[in-house]
Assembly symmetry: D3
Homo-oligomer: 158 residues x 6
Amino acid sequence: MTRAMYPGSFDPVHVGHVDIVEIAAAAFDEVIVVTMYNPAKDGFFPLAQRRELLEATLGHLHNVSITSAAGLVVDAACDLGATVIVKGIRSATDLDVELQMAQTNKAVSGVQTMFVPTEPDHSFVSSRFIREIASHGGDVSALVPPLVAEALARKVSE
Amino acid sequence: MTRAMYPGSFDPVHVGHVDIVEIAAAAFDEVIVVTMYNPAKDGFFPLAQRRELLEATLGHLHNVSITSAAGLVVDAACDLGATVIVKGIRSATDLDVELQMAQTNKAVSGVQTMFVPTEPDHSFVSSRFIREIASHGGDVSALVPPLVAEALARKVSE
Amino acid sequence: MTRAMYPGSFDPVHVGHVDIVEIAAAAFDEVIVVTMYNPAKDGFFPLAQRRELLEATLGHLHNVSITSAAGLVVDAACDLGATVIVKGIRSATDLDVELQMAQTNKAVSGVQTMFVPTEPDHSFVSSRFIREIASHGGDVSALVPPLVAEALARKVSE
Amino acid sequence: MTRAMYPGSFDPVHVGHVDIVEIAAAAFDEVIVVTMYNPAKDGFFPLAQRRELLEATLGHLHNVSITSAAGLVVDAACDLGATVIVKGIRSATDLDVELQMAQTNKAVSGVQTMFVPTEPDHSFVSSRFIREIASHGGDVSALVPPLVAEALARKVSE
Amino acid sequence: MTRAMYPGSFDPVHVGHVDIVEIAAAAFDEVIVVTMYNPAKDGFFPLAQRRELLEATLGHLHNVSITSAAGLVVDAACDLGATVIVKGIRSATDLDVELQMAQTNKAVSGVQTMFVPTEPDHSFVSSRFIREIASHGGDVSALVPPLVAEALARKVSE
Amino acid sequence: MTRAMYPGSFDPVHVGHVDIVEIAAAAFDEVIVVTMYNPAKDGFFPLAQRRELLEATLGHLHNVSITSAAGLVVDAACDLGATVIVKGIRSATDLDVELQMAQTNKAVSGVQTMFVPTEPDHSFVSSRFIREIASHGGDVSALVPPLVAEALARKVSE
C-alpha cells in the first residue's frame, strides 16, 4: 500500500495539475493533494477557495483526497504517512531545482520524490502566468477547469 | 495493483541501478527489471550474464523479477502488463532526452513514465564509464556490487 | 524581402516540421525548405521520396518551395540567397547545440539563425523515434501527415 | 508585411539589445521596440529617459520605431498589430523560461515568438549586472552605447 | 604565486562549502574565503558569527584565511589581490547564471573565475534549504559542521 | 606547487583551446597540455602534427609543456603527477557530461577537475565544426591560429 502526496500551492489549480493527479491516482493506491500555504502571506485565492476548487475538480477520483499544510513539505509527508512525494516536471531548469529539493528531503526525512512528466500540450501552463493573464482580462479558459475560469473572472471583475 | 517496469541494458548493473530498483520496489506492488538487448549487437557482457548478475544482486527483493526483451521499451511494457516505466534521472541533460522519449511512449501506447532521482553519491555512475575504466585496469569496486567487480576483473584479465 | 531557409533531413517530415514551416511562411516573405542529404549515406526514405512527401504536405503554402542540398547548411543558404535560417527548438539541450551551430554559421558566413519554439503538443516528436516505432509496427499516425503514415506502413511491410 | 515587436525593460539599453534590434530590422519589414514598464514601480532610469536612450541608439535604423507599454507583452503586441515577438536568447536556462512564456502567449493570443541568439561576445551582458557594476563605480563602457555610459556616470555621481 | 578567493554569504557554512575550500587550498598557493554581506540587510546569522563559524571550521587549513566584504565580488578580488575567483558548481542551471557572472567579471576587471564541481554526496546542500529546515525544527546535522548544527539549534530555540 | 593537466584531442587546436591554456598557465605553477589519442583510430591530423601545431601555438608560454597519451585521462594525470585536470566549459549541456566525468575521475583516482569558462567570443568554436567547414572549403581563419589555418588549407587541397 503506497500513499503518495502531491504538494503545491494550487493558486489556482490548472489543467497541468489535473493531469499529474490523474496519473498519480492510477499509479499509487492513495493520493493526497496537499495545498501548501504560508500563514503569514495571503495567496491570490484564499486557502479555503483553493481547496474548494481542488475538491470540485478532482472529486471524481475515488482514491484522491484533499488537505492543506503549512511549513515544510517533508513534515507534511511524515504527518500524513506518505512515503512518496509526486512532482510534475516540465523542463531541465525545473529539474535542477527539484532534484536538489528531492535529495535534501530524502536526506533529512527519507521521503522519496518521483517526477511525472507533464502532458506535452499542458507543459507550459503555470499558475503564475494564469494569474497574470487573468488579472489583465485575458482569456485563460483553455488552461484551467471551467469552475476555476469562473472564479478567476469573478475575482478580476471585483 | 501497479506493475512497474525498469528497463536498461545493465551492462553491467551498478550501484545507481540498485538504488532505483530498491526505490521502485518500495513504491510499487511489483517491479520487473527488463534487460533490453539488441539481437544484432553483442554487449560487453553477454545477455545471460547480465541477467545473472542482476538476479544475484537483486534476489533479496521479493516483489522484483528479472527478464529481458528486444525491440521497443513500450512494446515490452505492454507485453508484460506494466503500466508504469521507471527511469533514473541524474541531470538536466538526461531529462530533456528522457522527457521526449516518455512523451513519445505515452502518445503511442499510453504507458506512463516516472522519473526517480538517483542518490546523490551515485549520481555520476554510468555503465559506460565503468566499462571504460575497468578495461584500462582501473578500480571500480566502489561503483558496482561485489559480484560485478569480480566479473569485470575476470573479463578484463582474459 | 526576406528569404528564409528551413533545413532538415525530413526523414520523414512530421507534424512538428509542418508547424515550423507554417510559422515561417507567415513571418517571412519566402521560405525554402531544404532537404539536407549525405551523398555517401542512404536515408530511411530515399531523397526523392522525402522531397515528394514534403511537396505533398506543404503544397498549400504559396510562399514555400522545396529543394535539397548536400554539404554545409550555410553553403546552401548562400547558394539560395537566404539570409535567415529557421530552426525549431524543443528544449534546453537542443538549444546548447543549436546555439553553437548558429554562432559558428554566423561567424563564417554572416547568415543569421532564428529559433522557433515547437508547438507544445508536438514538442516531443522526432523523425528518429518515428522511424524506430514504425519499424517495430507501432502506430505513429498521430505524429505524421496521413501520406507519410501510408509511406511508412508500405516501407515497413516490405 | 511582417511587423515584429521587441519588448524589454531596457533599463538601460546595452550592446546585446542593439545586436538583436539590428538582426530583427534586417529580417522583418518593421520592428517596434517596446519599453515595458510597471506604472507602480520606478525603474533605475525613468521611462522617458530609457526611451530617449533607445531613440538615440537606434535612430539610424529606418524601419525601427520606439514606443512603450504597461501590462502584458501579448496585449501590447495585439494593440500594435505585431504578429511576431522577438526575444534574444543567451542560454539553456533562459530558454526554459522563455519557451514557457512563448507557448503561453501563443495559446492565449496567437502571437508567435521567435528567438534570436545573442552575439557570442555580448552573450553575458545584462542590464542588471550593468546597473550593479555602474552603481559601485565600475567601468561598463564596453557593454553599453556611449550615450548610455554617460547617462550611467551622471546618474551614479548624483 | 596564485591567490584565489572563494566568495559566498556562508549563512551558514555547510559541508559543500568545506569541500570547495579544501579543494582550492590544495590547488592554489593561498585561498581567501570572503563572506559577502549587504550592509542594508541582516542575514540569518550576523556577519561576525558567520565569520566565527568559518574560522572554527576551516582553521586547520594553513593557507586559508577568512575575511569579509560588501559590494561587488570583483572589487573585493581586486582589493585583496586575488586573480582567481573559485565557485562551486552543482548543476546546469547553476552554470548558466555563474557563467554570465564570470564573463561579466572578466570583462570589467580581468579577474578569472574557475568552477569546482561539488562532491556528489553534498551536491544538493544549500544554505537556504538548511535555514528553512532548521527553522522548522528539522535535523540538518548531516549537512553542516557540528559547530554550525549547534549554532542553528541555539538560534532556533530562541 | 600545482601541476595541472589540460587534456584534449586538439584535432586541431583552436582559439578556444589557446584561451584555456593561457588562463591555466596564469593560475597554476605548471601546465601540461596532453593530446589524447586512440591508437586504433586515426584523427583528422596525425598525432605528430597535432602536437607540432600545439608546440608552435603555445611555445611562448614558459610554464606550459606538450605531451600525448592514450587510454584514460585519469591514468595520464597520475602518470604525469598532475593533481588538477583543467577543462573548458561552454554551456549547460557540456557541464552535465563533464560533471559526471569529473566526479567519476575523482572517485576512482582522487584527481580533481576544475572548469574554466571559455571566452565569450570563442564560446562557440569546436574542432568538429572547424574540420567540417574547412573540408567544404569554408574560411575558418578567425577560429584557429594562423599556422593551423595553413595546415587545414594544405590538407583540404590534397
